[in-house]
């Protein structure tokens, strides 16, 4: 069957502003959107630029805006959309567009880096503990966050990031910090909470739940953020209780 894709185009070498090109290709309802983009590139326009790698939703390369919602091109099939109409393919929102469907991900990875306190040291082979134990319950506290593939879909969907606070640290970074804060083996929990308490940190989240709605890995991102906020409040009240009782 024939399906038409309306694709965002921008080539900084020649274009002053972005425009859209329509491509009609012969495909099957079970084809991945990524297969369609490749078909366009390999048979119609080799200049179309987009990222890809694993093609089955685990590497996080092909986060795009498909019919106005963040998604992974390799995880969505043609039949997931109303393919009697044009399917609109655009780059992830929030990020600066470099070319066609490619965005500058540096602000994303800088944030992932920023939640990593440098003080944490790696044990050397001589300092190895055999293995630290962790109960199944303890492990489950951060299991959901481990599904994150750093695709950036949540940044493209978050109204805080796209409309209110460009500097907001963003859902994926908070989620990754939540993973460490709730890991019973983490020694620098306090430092990590301090990082999230900074301006544009965890309190920037206004619980729009859009990250949860679009997350290609079905992570309950907003819930993880709320649990982190709760943890910060709990730690603060512990500190003020200690002050009031004079203990430590």
């Amino acid at each position: 069957m024939k399906v038409t894709f309306k694709v965002h185009r921008f080539n900084p070498e020649i274009d002053k502003e972005a425009h859209y090109d329509s491509f009609t290709i012969e495909i099957e309802p079970n084809d991945r959107i990524l297969d369609c983009l490749n078909k366009i590139r390999w048979t119609q326009d080799s200049s179309l630029a987009f990222r890809m790698s694993c093609a089955h939703g685990i590497c996080g390369s092909d986060g795009l805006t498909i019919n106005n919602q963040s998604a992974l091109a390799c995880q969505k099939l043609v039949k997931d959309y109303d393919y009697f109409k044009e399917i609109v393919i655009e780059p992830l929102k929030y990020f600066e567009v470099v070319k066609d469907l490619i965005v500058d991900l540096n602000p994303f990875f800088e944030r992932i880096k920023s939640i990593n306190p440098i003080e944490v040291s790696n044990p050397t082979i001589d300092e190895l503990e055999k293995e630290r134990t962790q109960t199944i319950e303890e492990r489950n506290r951060f299991d959901d966050a481990l599904k994150c593939i750093l695709c950036g879909c949540c940044y493209g969907a978050c109204p805080v990031m796209t409309e209110q606070d460009q500097e907001f640290i963003g859902p994926a970074a908070i989620l990754r910090e939540q993973r460490y804060i709730f890991d019973s083996r983490t020694t620098a929990v306090n430092e990590r909470l301090q990082i999230l308490k900074k301006p544009h940190g965890v309190w920037g989240c206004k619980s729009y739940f859009m990250c949860t709605v679009v997350c290609p890995k079905n992570i309950k991102v907003t819930e993880a953020i709320l649990r982190t906020k709760k943890k910060i409040i709990q730690e603060q009240s512990k500190v003020s209780n200690r002050r009031e009782t004079g203990g430590n």
Binding site: N11, R32, M52, C54, I58, Q75, P117, I118, N122, T133
Partner: protein, 574 residues
């Protein structure tokens, strides 16, 4: 642009990151990746990482070693396998200590499950040896390593495609490539260079590998006049999703899944009475294709079923959530209710760039080391996997030998002299790019690539024979010739993926030729290399490693004796 480092690691998968992390002790380390870091194909590793922790049942490194040697169809070097099996537990503890979120058992210890070819007491029955993080083991290790590398100050250069290794006075002193964003040359000047570039599954039409797995590191080695070892041994994983090739981990069978033919029979009982569905991959892949050729495929077609229904919904969601979810996405099937159509898919390259057990790249079969150049991971051949790799042994290979590579760099780096790089280094890459972009060629990259992929999948996969190999070799050489005449419609210098694919196609065709040529020479069947014209293993003539060099007159083969060890040759039955 010239970047100065002590150590440059090419490839940002688990082998690359683990080597970088180990070497980053007061040493300036950079990781260069063709994709963004955390996008490398190591993230696709699902089922687990092997080590004889004994957390679930008694286990010993000797048992792990025996299984690996037998799994390799006796082609692995036993000194290297001993290092792997002995070093595995400490490697897991190190991963755990730096924060890898392994799944836990009721005692709070790292949980372990069964995996193909891993047995207790030298082949008696399956053993729980695979440590894992649900079915996202690769992703979990990769994410942890990435965070730790950041903390150690490792620098990441993303989306750089390396084209050449740089040498001075027979020392490797760097690498040069271009940034995909702007197509400008990027020179990396270093005292030590590590190749950790992964495999080349994209040579085949049906593969579990990602788009980036195009054998670039193998091509870099050939350019540097280095040999490639045992390239005829290409692993086909038995359970790729039919048509798509996406991997369904052996963990699915470890948790209770079984293979069924079109008649509903558990056919593996006939091929491997002891291990059944947990036999090594080469044996199961052949069994599947045998069933299909006997007309017992599902509806007479070229696939069989993987039946996970016995596992149950709850356990599927708990132990195999990733697999359950993508089966739902791509096939619209709930694996707790319906069977999954599967067929073998190209998965792993057992051969590669020859190294010693400290990660040094070997310049020849005599074992001479090329100073300054190291290799680890799938692109390297130590050789621990021989003719067939066991499941879960690749991740442990990355960590054990990645770690050893990092340590040997640390030991040697201070004594290494910084070699100057030629001022013309940049022009190697600018000329290469310009000549492709300005080429008046008429050949189409996508067409040539598809020809190669179909040919390799149809002629040189689970079963092959001399005639098919000879025919394929001719066509691959024709395709190579045609590839030198490709024309690019896209003249842009910004994110020009047509340019990247042209370069990748050249790399893949070169490696395809090496694979087919190696297979043609080896007149026996061993592990993943099965020739219907020589269906038996021939230890008298072929218990040796293939070394292939590119020479001005074409490919030349030579052979290196095996490192034998404690385990004697046996008939390989399970």
């Amino acid at each position: 642009m010239i970047h100065e480092y002590d150590v440059v690691v090419i490839g940002g998968g688990i082998a690359g990151l683990y080597t970088a992390l180990t070497a980053a002790e007061n040493v300036k380390v950079a990781v260069i990746s063709k994709v963004h870091v955390t996008r490398s194909h190591s993230v696709s590793a699902q089922g687990g990482i092997a080590a004889c922790l004994g957390n679930e049942e008694e286990d010993h490194w000797e048992w792990h070693m025996y299984d690996t040697v037998k799994g390799s169809d006796y082609l692995a070097d036993q000194n290297a396998v001993e290092v792997l099996a002995k070093g595995a537990p400490n490697a897991i503890y190190k991963l755990e200590n730096i924060g890898v979120p392994f799944s836990r058992n009721a005692q709070g210890k790292i949980e372990q499950r069964r995996f193909g070819g891993h047995t207790k007491n030298f082949g008696e029955a399956p053993i729980k040896r695979a440590c894992y993080a649900s079915d996202r083991t690769g992703r979990a290790i990769m994410d942890t390593l990435y965070d730790r590398c950041l903390q150690k100050g490792v620098k990441f250069h993303n989306e750089i495609f390396i084209q050449h290794l740089l040498f001075a006075l027979n020392n490797c002193c760097g690498a040069i490539g271009y940034d995909i964003a702007m197509s400008t040359p990027q020179v990396f000047h270093a005292k030590a260079v590590v190749l950790a570039t992964g495999g080349c599954g994209k040579i085949y039409k049906t593969t579990s590998n990602g788009y980036a797995s195009t054998g670039d590191g193998f091509a870099l080695a050939l350019d540097a006049l280095l040999p490639l070892e045992d390239m005829e041994f290409v692993q086909f994983h038995p359970t790729g999703i039919y048509g798509l090739g996406i991997l369904i981990s052996e963990a699915a069978r470890a948790e209770g899944g079984v293979l069924r033919n079109g008649l509903g029979e558990r056919f593996m009982e006939r091929y491997a009475p002891t291990l059944k569905d947990l036999a090594p991959r080469d044996i199961i892949s052949r069994a599947i294709l045998k069933e299909i050729s006997d007309g017992k495929g599902v509806y007479g077609k070229d696939y069989v079923y993987l039946d996970l229904r016995e596992i149950g919904k709850e356990r599927l969601n708990q132990k195999l959530p990733e697999i359950t979810s993508f089966i739902q996405t791509y096939l619209g099937i709930d694996p707790s209710e319906k069977q999954i159509p599967v067929a073998p898919t190209c998965h792993y390259i057992m051969g590669g760039i020859p190294t010693d057990i400290e990660g040094h790249v070997l310049a020849d079969k005599a074992g001479n080391v090329l100073p300054g150049l190291y290799a680890a991971g799938e692109c390297a051949c130590v050789s621990v996997h021989g003719a067939n790799r066991l499941g879960c042994n690749s991740l442990i290979d990355l960590v054990v030998f990645g770690g050893r590579t990092g340590l040997s760099i640390l030991k040697e780096i201070n004594a290494r002299i910084v070699q100057p790089i030629s001022v013309q280094a940049e022009s190697i890459v600018t000329d290469k790019i310009s000549s492709l972009i300005e080429s008046k060629g008429v050949e189409c990259i996508a067409v040539l690539r598809e020809n190669m992929q179909l040919l390799m999948t149809e002629q040189c996969s689970v079963f092959t024979n001399g005639q098919a190999l000879e025919q394929t070799l001719l066509v691959i050489r024709q395709l190579k010739k045609r590839a030198s005449n490709v024309g690019l419609a896209n003249k842009s210098r910004i994110f020009n993926y047509e340019l990247q694919e042209a370069l990748e196609l050249n790399n893949m065709l070169r490696i395809a030729e090496v694979i087919v040529y190696s297979a043609l020479q080896r007149k026996e069947s061993r592990g993943a290399h099965f020739r219907s014209d020589y269906p038996e293993r021939n230890d008298e003539q072929w218990l040796k490693h293939t070394f292939i060099n590119e020479t001005p007159t074409g490919l030349k083969e030579s052979y290196k004796p095996l490192a034998k060890g404690r385990f004697m040759l046996e008939k390989r039955s399970y």
